[in-house]
Symmetry: C2
Subunit: 369 residues, 2 copies
């Protein structure tokens, strides 16, 4: 039932999309990649506080993900050696560039949660930060665009974050220290990566792709839709393995099971959800190719389902970071207690994200009936 | 809307219930009180492991609560001095007898939750306990009748509780120590209370009530329903002050707000819910009087709403106990972390109970429309 509504082949009127549509899409994404790269190089040397590098890095990752996914889904239509050589390289680019952003948003998420749990106003902290010339900490709600995920000029660690209570304040300071360190390292790694010959080789290949897509000779007359449908079927198959009945029952407390087990960080129960997140993204990009919609915003429910799975991933990783921080030697019991509350809070968010996904998915099914 | 369905006056066919029905109800509850007291005295000196004292104490509290509530709701029909003198004494009896049971079930709830959070089997622990001649710890699910809440022969503290992981095991042992101590003290207090001249005076008054209810002269011809309706209105008025819109939105995360604030144990946000719990009980007992149903089980939704509020109270107090235990000096960080997770888990249960109550209440409203 969900299949029918999500299936991209339902939406195509007129002639079947073939290799030409695939080539158009890949050329477009390659152009985006190059544009973002140019923007990044121009802005990277610019003044501090510039948001250019952030946007450029996001755009780079966005294009790299789409090219890589498209090579995967439509591989039978493309030169095999070329696409098999290209995909891991693009995955390396988007993965390497994603880390700094991931640590930044994880820290934001955890500090925002700590403020909520303390009943304090995160904006108070951020106003103080701004006054002190530091970055606005905790002011961005979860899901808001981070302001310091660029590859250059990482902001200094924030010292003050409103009037957090003692345990929460220490937990916040500990997380800040650990995640800022991780972010700084990720920043250096990304800078090194972008200056490497490996990266230049990839950029060169993408530059070629922007003008010439290595289609197989048969591709021009091959219908893309069966391959898109296969991507969709992989998604729906994976969704059937999820515990959606449980997820649809609010407050099932499933996400915290094994929460105190020492050998379950990250949680094995999260893995199938992470897998569905990736398959949903592949499906969404395949839809963009077939429908000729590079924005991919035509199905809002699909976007909502994807956002729920992003939240799931973010909360899962934030919970793991809190658990990890609690293992720091010689922390005070009050700090450990606050980290325990925070961990459970984020596992609660994991459960909430599953519920949201279940609701989205169910709506798809009902609509399509 | 909810009013209409819950209103006891809707259900009465035939002549209006008057003071006679009130007198019947009070005589019946006084007889129950005396029966339970006799049972308690007979069984109290009996062999250990007897469940008599538990049942007898529950029955005593049950009758004391109903008599007290009825004196409150229908006070205009009763001798003022007598009922004003009687109510605080009955509240003292039920309150004193409730403490041991409360500590027992709180410990069971927390240990069951710790096992769930550790992914361990609580039955494994309880089987070991039984083999060791100790009580079955954690085997009873939350809400199951406790087996050791009698006033005599409190069981020894349980040493082993399955294979809890280190932090969880230490947290469990700490809670066990603290709540078992509190229970033992409550046990002694209850024993002393039941041997006191104050208790004997109350028992004497209840014995008189079992044969002669001090109605005012006008009571015989007074319709009980307006007083029952007033009790009902106090309930519905209090419900309107609850944040039911938030509560009806799953995973609103409201119950954990201020969870790390040091001066909010117990949580002030829980107070209006506790108040509604008491008012719902008064309404339910008033219904028993007016409808002549001493069991009070005719409205299953009302029972379900009441059970949700009981869960709310229990989870709220369990969360506070976990927070309190975390303040024990010189505990290990791993213990504090486990207590933090446990605290948040129980606040999550608080939120879940509010959701359940909202659903029950909404169903009432929809049905009555």
């Amino acid at each position: 039932m969900a299949q029918r509504h999500l299936d991209p082949t339902d939406h195509v009127a007129g002639p079947a999309p073939t290799g030409d549509a695939l080539a158009d899409y890949l050329r477009g994404q390659a152009t985006e990649f190059l544009r973002a790269l140019r923007l990044h190089r121009e802005n990277g040397a610019g003044a501090n506080g510039s948001e250019g590098p952030v946007d450029a890095a996001l755009a780079l990752r966005r294009a790299a993900r789409r090219i890589s996914a498209t090579l995967h889904t439509f591989q039978p239509l493309l030169d095999t050696d070329w696409s098999e050589g290209m995909r891991p390289e693009l995955a390396w680019v988007s993965g390497t560039l994603a880390m700094e952003h991931a640590y930044t948003s994880r820290l934001e998420r955890l500090l925002t949660a700590l403020h909520r749990l303390s009943g304090t106003d995160p904006a108070a902290g951020s106003r103080a930060d701004v006054a002190a010339g530091s970055r606005a900490a905790g002011a961005a709600r979860v899901g808001a665009a981070p302001r310091d995920a660029g590859l250059r000029n990482p902001p200094p660690a924030t010292q003050e974050r409103g009037n957090l209570t003692v345990g929460a304040a220490k937990a916040g300071a500990l997380l800040d220290r650990q995640l800022t360190l991780a972010r700084t390292r990720a920043h250096s790694t990304a800078l090194q990566a972008m200056g490497s010959s490996r990266f230049h080789a990839i950029a060169d290949k993408v530059a070629v792709l922007a003008s010439e897509v290595p289609l197989k000779p048969t591709a021009k007359t091959t219908d893309l839709r069966p391959l898109a449908t296969a991507a969709h079927d992989r998604l729906t198959d994976a969704v059937t393995t999820l515990p959606l009945v449980t997820a649809g029952h609010p407050y099932n407390a499933a996400a915290l099971i094994h929460g105190l087990s020492p050998d379950t960080v990250p949680h094995p129960q999260d893995a199938p959800w992470h897998q569905v997140r990736l398959l949903l993204r592949l499906h969404r990009y395949a839809r963009e190719v077939v429908l000729g919609e590079p924005d991919g915003t035509s199905d809002l429910r699909l976007l909502a389902a994807g956002q729920a799975l992003n939240q799931h991933r973010d909360a899962s990783e934030a919970a793991a970071a809190a658990a990890q921080a609690a293992r720091t030697p010689r922390i005070a019991p009050a700090t450990a207690y606050a980290l325990g509350v925070l961990h459970a809070d984020q596992r609660h968010e994991v459960e909430a994200a599953r519920f949201t996904f279940q609701q989205c998915w169910q709506k798809e099914a009902v609509t399509a009936r």
